[in-house]
């Protein structure tokens, strides 16, 4: 079965007849100056209901309010027609509302059964492993959620972990199921399996709400769709009565801006080369890896998270040791170089959450810049700090990268996540690097910030920098990359042309399954 299959055979008319099980009326929520949700109405009946909108449209916030994670400033929530208070996730679960987040909240060191047991409302003081195992297996079979109760969650793959999350909310007694971007971490084949699970649940009478920003999913699975834009509900329609263009109109209001790629560059000289490299670091070891990145090209890396991407970045940047094989930077043998030496030679790095992984939150922005290029801003081996050059750079190069920072003496921790990411990228690009390693640089960012970061990556490419872009956003990868690699099990299993590669082929390569 493919995602583009025909919509499910539930008659639209039958839905209108029943009363909504869970309803939100007039929900509003403000975060400081930002109105995240603006008088939203949502009604859930048995069937599959999609909540569609771009990043930042307010879908997540609305759903968090339904689950008690946030409190609405105005409006009410009704269950079975009666108004209820949902003050915490525990309240929500007691009322029968179940939510599966995008980021799983499982405890890796505990087993599947133990993780599920934590959620059970009626757990006896002495655990009955057999009984819990039995209940898990019953539901697994019923809904196609195969998983071994005795395994530690940390050893499970992401799709398996998602199944545990679903089993957890089901066993906790949920009557309504909400999923926040459930397919974001799944390759194509697993998405089909998940949708099959949704269909079985729906057939058993569960109302299902799933958040997404991907249109094909909406048409494949949902009976009804609610579109949100900038915090407000634009409309709620039955799938049978609407087409793709109309939904896009509702989502964006106007045609969305696309990132302009520019001409494809012929690749220049080789900037980085890993030859038969075996790397040991903090995570899994990489064995016998071959990789080249040329100047002025963006090499994308696709793959399910946890398959060696982080280790690859660590290996290139110098955090991991190269035990065998070689790492060549601009022709020089850099296999034994330290992180600092690699950086001085032109390697730059932007991690996923800059504020946690690359910037020092309790130091000022200025100090963070100095930290990134100590050779430039300090002399006498570290005795002095050159503040004047720093100020010039701030008003010169950083500004040229579109980053305006009136107050560079504020602490990095005061920046928002999105701004911190942009600052981190600008900081690295201001060093005029030859190679930029970007590890999930736009994950979690809202659309305008993500676009800004993507523009910066393209600008780097224009200036002749070689870029390694690791991302989970296949659209981003296919749009930006000149070459697309796929990683699986700490190996590079394919080198594709992003323009012509088939998403199913990529998905199969990512998971080792069949297309």
């Amino acid at each position: 079965m493919s995602i583009a299959a025909a919509p499910s055979p539930v008659t639209a008319s039958a839905q209108h007849a029943t009363d909504p099980l869970l309803e939100a009326r007039g929900i509003s929520k403000r975060f400081g100056p930002l109105l995240a949700v603006d008088q939203a109405d949502l009604a859930l009946r048995p069937g599959v209901h999609a909540l569609l909108g771009e990043n930042g449209a307010g879908k997540s916030t609305l759903v968090k309010i339904l689950y008690g994670y946030e409190q609405a400033d105005a409006g009410e929530i009704l269950l079975d027609g009666r108004s209820v208070q949902v003050r915490s996730p525990a309240d929500a679960r007691r009322l029968g509302i179940g939510l599966v987040f995008q980021q799983f909240t499982l405890i890796p060191a505990l087993t599947v059964a133990e993780n599920i047991a934590l959620f059970l409302p009626d757990l006896p003081p002495v655990l009955d492993q057999q009984k819990i195992g039995r209940r898990i297996r019953e539901l697994s079979e019923r809904y196609g959620l195969a998983v071994d109760p005795a395994r530690r969650v940390g050893t499970l793959s992401l799709p398996e972990q998602q199944r545990v999350e679903i089993l957890r909310v089901l066993l906790a007694g949920a009557r309504v199921l909400i999923f926040d971007e459930p397919t974001s971490t799944l390759p194509a084949q697993e998405v089909d399996a998940l949708f099959d699970v949704f269909r079985r649940l729906r057939d058993d009478g569960y109302p299902i709400l799933f958040i997404t920003h991907k249109l094909p999913e909406v048409f494949a699975l949902a009976d009804t769709v609610t579109v949100m834009r900038r915090g407000a509900v634009v409309d709620t329609v039955a799938i049978a009565e609407v087409n793709e263009e109309q939904l896009v109109q509702m989502m964006f209001g106007e045609t969305p801006a696309t990132v302009h790629r520019g001409e494809v560059h012929p690749a220049g000289t080789t900037v980085l080369s890993l030859a038969g490299a075996t790397c040991l670091g903090e995570g899994r070891p990489l064995v016998d890896l071959d990789l080249t990145i040329a100047a002025g090209e963006i090499v994308g890396v696709a793959g399910v998270a946890g398959n060696g991407q982080r280790e690859l970045a660590d290996a290139i940047v110098g955090v991991s040791r190269i035990k065998q094989g070689r790492r060549l930077l601009l022709g020089a043998d850099a296999s034994r170089w330290s992180v600092r030496r690699l950086r001085d030679a032109g390697v730059a790095y932007v991690p996923e959450r800059a504020l946690a992984e690359e910037l020092i939150w309790n130091m000022t922005l200025e100090e963070n810049v100095i930290l990134g290029s100590p050779g430039r801003y300090s002399h006498l081996g570290g005795l002095t700090v050159d503040r004047r050059t720093l100020k010039e750079d701030f008003s010169g190069r950083m500004a040229a990268l579109g980053l305006e920072l009136p107050d560079a003496s504020r602490r990095a921790g005061t920046l928002s996540g999105g701004n911190a990411q942009r600052f981190a990228v600008a900081r690295e690009l201001a060093r005029d690097p030859k190679l930029l390693v970007a590890l999930y640089p736009t994950r979690g960012l809202d659309v305008p910030t993500a676009a800004a970061v993507q523009e910066l990556l393209l600008a780097a490419r224009e200036r002749g920098c070689g870029v390694l872009l690791v991302s989970q956003d296949l659209a981003e990868l296919t749009t930006l990359s000149d070459r697309l690699l796929v990683m699986r099990d700490a190996r590079i299993v394919a080198d594709l042309n992003p323009r012509t590669a088939d998403p199913y082929e990529i998905g199969a390569l990512m998971t080792g399954g069949e297309a």
Binding site: R93, T105, I107, A109, L110, E114, L118, P125, L127, G154
Partner: protein, 306 residues
């Protein structure tokens, strides 16, 4: 080595083990709940001083054990107040507890320096005490020695087979997710620290009531810190902890026996042996495999969090 020497070493080892093992048990409970206690030594000293005082005043060493355990519970709850209640830095708070415990124990014990008491009775297992000398001394031990294995299994059962134990482990792995799952994390941590405190106090009281039978300032000689090291060696598992504690106690026992036999090796070098052995053993065998270290502790040792 003669049979008599060997039997003597074994007997002394067993007699010494509870004072380290129960402390290790306590720290396993505490660390699995996400709290590192650098001040075990202080709580042990409180348990020892209160236990000794009670033992002398009442004439009943078992009452002393109970009093020591109770004092340990109360004193360790100070750590709970600091770390769980207010979120202070765990290592610094533990250290303060160590210093405070040491000081208070000196004040309590001052009256009883130089006094002796009878101590806990030696209990023998009916069949085994009929063994020929020198082997019979191995099986004449106080109550806490015989309880070591049952307590280890009891703790294992509590941690892995009860609802409370599951909650405790969940809190130690990930406080935020546990909280989201509806666990009262603070309550669970306080309860864990109370149990741990009782175990620490028991360990301290055992040392003075069953072994030394006198009071000496700072008499626990670092066992509280050794316990933390043994927790790593035991991979946070109560039954495995027995072996680590036996190893440490054996090193002490060897030193004692050698000194008793008039060995030419400096007694101080012999006294060093247990600590060196502990460090070396933890270095060799103490590398945590995946999923053995409670994940919540990583922050504490990385120095980045509280």
């Amino acid at each position: 080595m003669s049979a008599a020497t060997f039997a003597s070493i074994v007997a002394i080892t067993l007699a010494l083990t509870p004072s380290v093992l129960y402390a290790t048990f306590g720290e396993i409970v505490g660390q699995r709940a996400g709290v590192v206690n650098l001040g075990i030594e202080g709580v042990m000293l409180i348990g020892a001083s209160v236990g000794f005082a009670t033992g002398i005043v009442t004439g009943n060493s078992y009452l002393g054990l109970l009093a020591g355990a109770g004092a340990g519970v109360a004193f360790n709850l100070l750590l709970a107040l600091l770390v769980v209640g207010r979120g202070t830095n765990q290592l610094a708070s533990g250290f303060a507890l160590y210093f405070l415990g040491g000081g208070v124990s000196m004040l309590i014990g001052a009256k009883y320096v130089g006094r002796d008491l009878g101590g806990l009775d030696q209990i023998s297992i009916p069949g085994l005490s009929g063994l020929p000398s020198p082997w019979d001394q191995i099986f004449r031990q106080d109550l806490l020695v015989w309880l070591m294995v049952p307590v280890a299994f009891a703790l294992w059962w509590i941690l892995f087979r009860t609802r409370w134990g599951l909650k405790l482990r969940a809190v130690g792995e990930d406080k935020n997710f546990s909280f989201a799952a509806g666990v009262h994390t603070r309550r669970v941590q306080c309860q864990a620290l109370a149990l741990a405190g009782g175990l620490y106090g028991l360990a301290g009281a055992d040392l003075v009531l069953a072994y030394t039978k006198t009071w000496q300032d700072w008499g626990t000689a670092g066992r509280g810190f050794v316990a933390i090291a043994i927790v790593i060696l035991a991979l946070w598992h109560p039954v495995r902890a027995i072996f680590g504690a036996l190893l440490f106690s054996a090193a002490v026992a060897v030193g004692i026996e050698l000194q008793a036999q008039g060995s030419p090796i400096s007694p101080f070098i012999l006294d060093m042996l247990p600590y060196v052995v502990t460090i070396v053993v933890v270095l060799i065998w103490g590398r945590p495999k995946a999923f053995t270290v409670p994940a919540g502790l990583r922050e504490v040792f990385a120095g980045t969090a509280k």
